[in-house]
Each structure stands twice: as C-alpha cells, then as structure tokens.
C-alpha cells in the first residue's frame, strides 16, 4: 500500500537515532556516517532491522549528509545505492507495511545572502541526491532537521521537481520555538503546504515536552498529517560520553498525548534507540488515529512569520511601485536597489504588514530586477511580499526564490491569465489575488463581478488550488467618473465575502482619482470597505488619514483588545511633523547652518535646511558651495586623524540626506554626471562594510556608484564595467583566502577592459600587496578611495 494511503487510517511509526548507535559501534568523531553504508553494511542493516522489529513502519536511510558537498558523484551514487539496499534488506521477511525513506539532511552550508550558497545551487545539490533515491527505489523522501526555511524550500522543491514520491518534511526548532533563521511554526506550515509537502513536522533539537508548543501550532494550522521525531531529551556529558536523559518508557509516555491530539507519525531522533521506539509502539499503537481536518485559513508567510487574513484587515504597502514616481523610476533605471529597499523599510516602520513589489518599467529586465529586489528585501525586511507583475515569466522567477508563501498579484478571469498564473500558484504555493475582470472588461454591477469570481474559483479548483488560496480584488474605480462606482465595489466586496466565503482585497487609492484632497475620500472609502468585510487593502502606510481610518475602525469594531493599538497609534499623532524646521533666517545663515548640520551629522536638520535653501538657489550651487566644502572639512580632519571613522560616517549620512532633497527636485534633469565607479567585494568574501563606506563617500563626492554587492564573480565585474564603460573599479577583500579572487578579477579586467583602472582595499591589503596583484592603486581608507577617484576623474 502506498504510504499516503496507509497514513489516512493509521498512525505511522518512524525510526529513532542512527548516529549515536553507529558511534557505539565504533564510528569516530568527524568520520562520515554515510560511508558506513559501504564499509559496514551489516552494522547499518542491523540498526534498521532493530527499528523495524521495534514496530517502525518507516526507516530513514543512513544518508543524512549524503550530498555532493561531502562525496563526489560516483561515491554518492554508491552510498545512496548501498543505503537503500541496507534498509531494504532489513525489512526482508517482516510482515506489515514497511517503508524505506530516503533521508535528506541539511547541506551544512548557509544560503545567500548570509552565506555563500546560491539558492539554485542548493536546489541542485538536493536534486542530485533525490534523483539517486528515485533510481534506487526509495518509497518516499524524508527531508529532516532543517533549521533554515530557505534551505528547506530548496530541498522540497528539488524533491518535487525530481520525483513523484511522497515527501515528508521535518524541521528542527530551537528553544525559542523558531527555526535558526527565525521562522515560526505557522510560517513553516504555510510555506511547506503551499509547496506540496505530504506530511510535515518537527524533529531533533529537544525532547518531546519542550517541543509541545511547536507541535501544537503545527496541529492547529496543518491540513496534511503532522509528524514528530524528538530527541530523548537534552544531551548531557557524562565522563567522555554524551548521554540523553529520557528513558524509553518516559519517552513513550510523553509522546502518547501528542498522538491523541492528532500527530499521525511518531518516532525519535538523537539519543533514541530501538528500545525507545518499541516503548513508543506499545504505548501508541492502539490509540485510534485522530481524523485529519482540512484547515481553511487564508495565510501567507515571510521567512519569520505568518500573516492571516480574517477579522482584522491586512495593510499591504503600495509604495514599491514606479507608477507616478519619477525618483523611483530613476532608481530602477540606475539599478539603485538600496533606494527601493529603504522605501520598503519605511513602509514596514509605518505599519504595513505586507509589501507589494512592483518594478514594471518597459526599459528594464523586469524578471531580473524583480528577483534581485525580492532577494534583497527578504534579507532585511521581515514582512511577507506580494509579488506584483504582469509578466508570467518574471512572476515565475520571483516566486521560485521567495522565502515563504507569497501573495501573487495577480490573475484575472481571462483564459490566458488563468492558464499562465494558476499553474505557478499551484507549484510554488501562494495566495493569488484575483481581479474580477475578463475578456469583456470590468462588469459595471457587483453581480457581474461575482460571476467572474465564481468562474475563477472553478478554474482554480481544476488546477488543484483551494479557495482559501484565492483572494478577490473586485476593483476600485474612480468615483468622480461614476457616482455609483464606489457603492458597486463595496457591494461586490460584501457579496464575494458572504456568498463565496472567500477574502477580498482592494487598492483603495483609485477611488479618489480626479478629486481634490484625495486622502479624505480614500480614508472614508477604506472605512466603508472594512465595514463591508474587506480583508486587505493595498494602500500607502504613510498616508495619515488611511492609518487613522484603520486604527479607529479596529477600535470601534471590537478588534483592538483594550484599545492598545489605538492608544499606541494616538501617541504618535502630531509627533511626525516635528522635524527641526529651519528657523526663517537669512539665507547666509541657512547656508552656514547647513554646513554645520553636516559637520555635526544631523541628517533631518540638513534635509530641512537644504529644502529651505532650494527656494533661493540651484541644487548644484548648494552642492558645490555648501555640501562639498562641509564634507571636505570633515574629510581633511579624517586624514589628519582629528576626525574618526564613525564621525566621518554620520557627516556623510547627513550630506546624503541633503542630497536626497536636491535629487527629489531635480530628478528629471540630467545627473551631475560624475564619473562612474563600479564597486564589489570579491568572490568568496562576504564582508562588505568597508565597501559600503566607500560607496557612501564616493556618492557624497558626486560619483555615480554601481554597487555589485559582495561575493561577486570576476566575470560579473567585467560585464558591468563594459556595460557602463566605467573608467574605475574598486575591489574589496577582507580575508587572505579571497585575495586570489581579487587578483583574478584584475587579470580579467586587464584582458577585457584595459581602459579601466582598479583600486583595491580591505583589511589584508597593503600598498605592496596591491602592487603585487596588479592593482593601479591602494586605498588605505574611504577618503583614500575618494582621492584616487578624483585623480582618475581629473586625468580623463
């Protein structure tokens, strides 16, 4: 019987620890246990057999670390083949349902951006092991002990793309009830079910009791069977041995209540033995399996937490979108991802719970930029994302690398749209925003929109997408064009919620188009929509009127316990406008105080004073006559060692705030036209603070910086230099081990871009070293880099 059929009516018994048992048989610390499949097949088979005899239905092959990072491909083939054979042999002659699971553990490497393993490389590493598991006849794939949601996604994707076998996924939660990289149980359930895991759960890290809250959350949110494979308590050192506290009987007694509560597969991890599994079997095999219940939560997740759609409306920040924003468009064209990231962080700060991400500009590679931005956002911002693109190709790429369960914006009732987007939603698991329009446009009446919504639900069902994973946007129209437009949209919200039992989302801003003082119309409409049952709004979290509508609605409709959120919000009102405004002074005074604000590192004041000065003077004049002299003074102090690095930085930040004000005004005019400098931390190196400081200073001095980030391959540097025709490259390396990569980059630049000069810097470099690897200049510090860039600029 297929294991998925079997688990429908039975509690599945899993095996216990392998590593500790092999150590008892002589496995040395640091030795690869997987190699024992070949060198000690009988020992491995005996362990499996003992678990089968103890009552296990499933044993995991001894392949926890069997991947191409630890074995070459030929060895790996032999290891996986032997491992499956050992487990098969252990089941010979035994009655009952016995399954062999291909065990897949973490790669041992950290994924980018924190480590250096690219997501697709991780997928390929797991795929190689999975394909061997299929080749040698495993019954299922058991991904376990995952402590990073992103790596877990890579492994599950590899399993789904390279086999049709059932896939179980188990994670290791820490004492704080979260994965090492921060994910909550609810976030993991959302992502793993979305990606099509057949059973999910928890293993390793702690004993049964400590993991209770985590398992309870799994049971609360999971529709698929939940598995549980804890340690025999915490490890303790006794002499030169590691022992575990929980005895077989205690272990069994602690797990039995979980089985009663609905856990459908149980076994053990570190420190558990066949005796633990035998006791577990005795204690639990007569407990009738609790029925599996389909959960109906509409939920999305980030790498840290889940966001549920329900009573309280979800705020989706709309600011990452170029429409109508010249400064944003310019940032997109210039590849200035940092500017966009700051937009996102400020939305998070303002109270957004989800970020819509749209980078649709005709002249850029939308898929590439969308992926880059998605990756960069999820490195610094904990909010779930709503991927917003009209291009199915860009959508597919972004969904693939998203760390969690995203929102997908959007599908509509057109055949073409349904056929392009729904398969992606099925494969990658997301909450799909469905617009109620089709080939004939947007129906004027709510009834028409409801009809389209029904059709979309039918289509989704055919693709295997449940209705909880669809959220309808019945479309906000400008009320100035049709006085009944707002009312029809609100009726549609109510009908869809009540008649179809699904959630709704609206982009509320449109309603006020063409009217003065738009925020008042928008806020009132938002309140009406929430009263009609709206579950989410795409809105501007910086719009004070919208936030007031949100907090007051929640307070008045019983969603804000003890009015805590409202009171916290009320305390912020009025404070926002208290930026130290420049006193109305003579313009010479403003100018002098701007220089002083920069010298003291007062960003908000520098910005306010610059805005003031802009009323009288050209931006370029302010830069040349005020900002640069102020910076020069600080820079010279730094060179003379009377000003130190943190001080240099706060001044540079203040100058940057002033620049931003000027840039916002002058966005459509041509840029200052400073020399373009390409910056990168070289391949293999993940330290970028020095490079970031150099970037800030160069920008301050009017240079255009193309920042390629860290761990950058030589080819990528050359490609960018050629694309931009950049006359100068700055390379940084912190470690001796990565200076080789720096030298390689310089060689490749000499060969393909001989016009370009190279400056280098970083902790391990010296002028002599720089010379030896063929650099044109050594920059001792950030000011050194600025001085050399100025030199190059003058020589051109």
């Amino acid at each position: 019987m297929n294991i998925l059929e079997y688990i429908k009516d039975h509690t599945l018994f899993l095996d216990g620890g392998m590593g500790t048992l092999l150590q008892a048989k002589g496995l040395l610390p640091g030795e690869l246990p997987e190699a024992w499949n070949l060198s000690h097949p009988d020992v491995v088979t005996d362990v499996h057999r003992a678990y089968f005899l103890a009552g296990a239905n499933v044993v995991n092959t001894n392949t926890f670390g069997a991947n191409v990072l630890h074995f070459d491909e030929e060895e790996l083939d032999a290891v996986v083949c032997a491992a499956i054979e050992n487990a098969r042999r252990a089941a010979e002659g035994l009655a009952g349902e016995r399954y062999v699971a291909l065990d897949v553990g973490p790669s041992g490497r950290m994924l980018a951006p924190y480590g250096d393993l690219a997501f697709e490389d991780a997928v390929e590493i797991f795929a190689k092991t999975v394909r061997l598991g299929v080749k040698y006849g495993a019954d299922l794939i058991f991904i376990e002990t995952m402590n990073d949601s992103y790596e877990c996604k890579a492994a599950l994707l590899a399993a789904k793309e390279n086999s049709t076998l059932p896939v179980f996924v188990s994670c290791a939660f820490g004492e704080d009830g979260k994965l090492l990289t921060g994910a909550s149980p609810a976030a993991m359930v959302a992502m793993l079910e979305g990606l099509g895991a057949d059973a999910i759960g928890v293993n390793c890290s702690q004993g049964p009791r400590a993991l209770r809250p985590v398992v309870e959350e799994y049971l609360r949110y999971a529709s698929v069977p939940v598995l549980f494979k804890p340690n025999a308590g915490l490890p303790r050192v006794e002499g030169d041995k590691t022992v575990f506290d929980v005895t077989p009987d205690d272990f069994a007694n602690e797990i039995a209540p979980f089985v009663k509560a609905g856990v459908r597969a149980v076994g053990g991890c570190c420190g558990t033995t066949p005796a633990h599994i035998a006791a577990l079997f005795d204690a639990c095999h007569e407990i009738p399996p609790a029925p599996l219940t389909k959960k109906t939560d509409t939920v999305i997740s980030s790498y840290t937490h889940a966001v549920f759609f329900g009573e309280s409306p979800v705020l989706i920040g709309e600011r990452i979108n170029p429409t109508g924003k010249p400064r944003f468009k310019e940032a997109l064209r210039a590849g200035d991802i940092d500017y966009i990231l700051r937009e996102g962080l400020s939305e998070e700060e303002a109270g957004a719970q989800v970020l819509d991400v749209n980078v649709g500009l005709p002249e850029i590679d939308e898929g590439g930029v969308l992926c880059e931005l998605t990756a960069a956002l999820q490195a610094v911002c904990a909010l779930p994302l709503q991927i917003d693109t009209a291009s199915p190709e860009a959508m597919a790429r972004a969904l693939r690398i998203y760390n969690g369960k995203p929102m997908i914006n959007s599908v509509n009732g057109k055949r073409e749209s349904l056929d392009a987007i729904l398969p992606l939603a099925k494969k990658y698991g997301g909450l799909v925003v469905a617009l109620t329009l089709d080939e004939d446009g947007i129906p004027e009446k709510a009834e028409g929109r409801l009809l389209i919504a029904r059709r979309i639900l039918d289509a989704a069902e055919k693709y295997g997408i449940e209705k909880k994973n669809i959220i309808f946007d019945p479309l906000t129209m400008a009320v100035s064009a049709d006085k009944r437009a707002a009312l029809e949209t609100l009726r549609a919200v109510k009908m869809i919620r009540e008649e179809l039992g699904v959630h709704t989302s609206l982009g509320v801003s449109n309603v006020s188009f063409g009217l003065p003082a738009r925020e008042h119309i928008g806020a009132a409409f938002f309140t009406m929509a929430m009263q009609s049952g709206l579950s989410a709004a795409i809105m501007n979290p910086h719009a004070a009127e919208m936030m007031k509508a949100y907090y007051t609605f929640r307070a008045l409709s019983g969603q804000d316990e003890n009015f805590l959120d409202y009171i916290a919000f009320a305390s912020t009102l009025g404070k926002a406008a208290s930026v130290p405004a420049a006193a109305p002074a003579k313009k010479e005074e403003s100018a002098a105080s701007l220089r002083e604000a920069i010298a003291k590192g007062l960003g908000a004041r520098a910005a306010a004073l610059t805005a003031d000065l802009l009323k009288e003077r050209e931006g370029l004049a302010i830069v040349q006559e005020e900002i640069i002299p102020a910076l020069n003074e600080v820079g010279e102090g730094f060179e003379k060692k009377t000003v130190f690095l943190p001080q240099l930085l706060i001044c540079a930040e203040a100058a940057k705030s002033a620049f931003e004000v000027i840039k916002a005004r002058a966005v459509n005019k041509s840029e200052g036209g400073g020399l373009t400098v390409v910056l990168a931390t070289v391949k293999g190196d993940i330290h970028d603070i020095g490079k970031n400081i150099v970037k800030l200073l160069l920008e301050n001095y009017g240079f255009t910086v193309a920042d390629l980030g860290k761990d950058v391959a030589p080819e990528r540097v050359v490609e960018e230099v050629l694309r931009l025709g950049a006359p100068l490259v700055g390379l940084s390396a912190l470690m001796t081990t990565t200076v080789g990569a720096m030298e390689k980059t310089i060689c490749l630049l000499r060969e393909r871009a001989p016009f370009c000069r190279v400056m280098v810097g970083g902790a391990v470099l010296t002028p002599e070293y720089a010379d030896a690897i063929g650099a044109d200049a050594y920059a001792r510090d950030a000011m050194g880099a600025v001085r050399y860039a100025q030199e190059v600029s003058e020589s051109l």
Partner: protein, 202 residues
C-alpha cells in the same frame, strides 16, 4: 578525547571603549556616544551566546602536530602548544541575528552599521574571554594549566583547519554556524580557536 559539549552564556558585560576602538574612534565624542547608546538599545535582544567544545590529547613532532582530530604543520601553533599534553578546541558564536541587523543598518545608517559591526566583534571576543576564563578555572582546580587561545589563520596556522574543527564540533547542527567555500564563517560573529592544556583533559 572528551565528549562534545555545548555551553550557553548570559551576555557578558559590554566594554564600550573596546566597541569604540573596534569602530575606529580614538577620542570620545558626544554624538558617537549617543549613537552607540541608540544601537545598544535597538539590539539588546539580538545576541545569543554559545560555545561548543571538546578536548583531545596531542602529540608534537617538530612543526607537525597530531591534534587528535587532524594533523597540521605550523611553527606558530607548535610554539603555542609547546609542552602541552592536549588541546581544547572550541567554536563560539553570538548568533546570526546580528548579521541581519547590520545589513538593515547599512541601508538606513552606515554609521550605525559600523558601530554594530564593532559591537558584534566585541561581543564574540567577550564570549571567548568568558569561556576561556571558565576553562582556566576548571583546569586550575585539577592542577592543570591552559594557554592563551590560538585561531586558524593566526600566524602560519592554515585556515583550512576550519574544516576539521567544524567536523569534530558538529558546528552546523550544534551552533548553527556554517563554513563557506572560502572558509569564512556564517554567522560572521563567530570564532574558532585552540587552547593548549598542560595536564589531564577534563
């Protein structure tokens, strides 16, 4: 060889002067002091303090050392371990949250990013100091002595030894530290080191 053990620590006291020194401040400044206060306030919950360790008997033959889990040739290490009977190998980390926070600060305020980098370095060194002080006291109680810690990459001790240390301390699983292709550690604020022991291993 002793069993692999993981110890957790509470936050050691913060040495502000050390943090400012790491950040490159040579003289006091009210603005930077205020900024550091802000960073300390915002990152209070960020750090966790964990050390994994185990000890091995060693044998030395010229500059080639058998560490019990690896063989290594290093003139500097053999000097550091001269006369020792064993070596305590350890890995210490203050966790990965700080890496993420540095990245976020880098976007919003490079000066705060610099201070947090410095704070992270001070934190992991303080953790190593606390751990080494404990080790020294434990061994002293048994009439044994320990030497100052020595890390891969110091002097002529090859960084490649990291691979062996990671294997023998099971760093990925026990501490959540992983080793990149260029032998850099993630989280960044992590340290591995060897401590010479003269006397019986505990």
């Amino acid at each position: 060889m002793t069993a692999l053990t993981v110890r957790r620590y509470l936050a050691p006291p913060i040495d502000r002067r050390e943090v400012l020194r790491y950040a490159g401040m040579r003289v006091p400044s009210a603005e930077i002091d205020a900024l550091l206060d802000e960073v300390l306030r915002e990152t209070e919950e960020l750090f966790s303090f964990r050390v994994a360790h185990r000890a091995f008997p060693i044998s030395v033959c010229g500059d080639t050392l058998s560490l019990g889990f690896a063989e290594v040739t290093s003139c500097d290490l053999s000097r550091a371990l001269a006369g020792c009977d064993g070596v305590l190998v350890f890995a210490a980390t203050v966790g990965g949250e700080v890496d993420r926070a540095i990245k976020k600060y880098a976007l919003l305020s490079p000066a705060k990013a610099l201070l947090l980098e410095a704070l992270g370095s001070e934190r992991v060194e303080a953790l190593c100091d606390a751990f080494c002080a404990d080790v020294k006291a434990d061994y002293a109680e048994h009439g044994a002595a320990v030497r100052p810690r020595f890390s891969p990459g110091y002097g002529d001790l090859p960084l490649a030894l990291q691979k062996d240390i990671f294997r023998v301390l099971d760093c990925e699983r026990r501490l959540g530290i992983s080793l990149g292709e260029s032998l850099l550690m993630t989280p960044k604020k992590s340290v591995t080191a060897l401590v010479g022991v003269k006397g019986e291993l505990l």
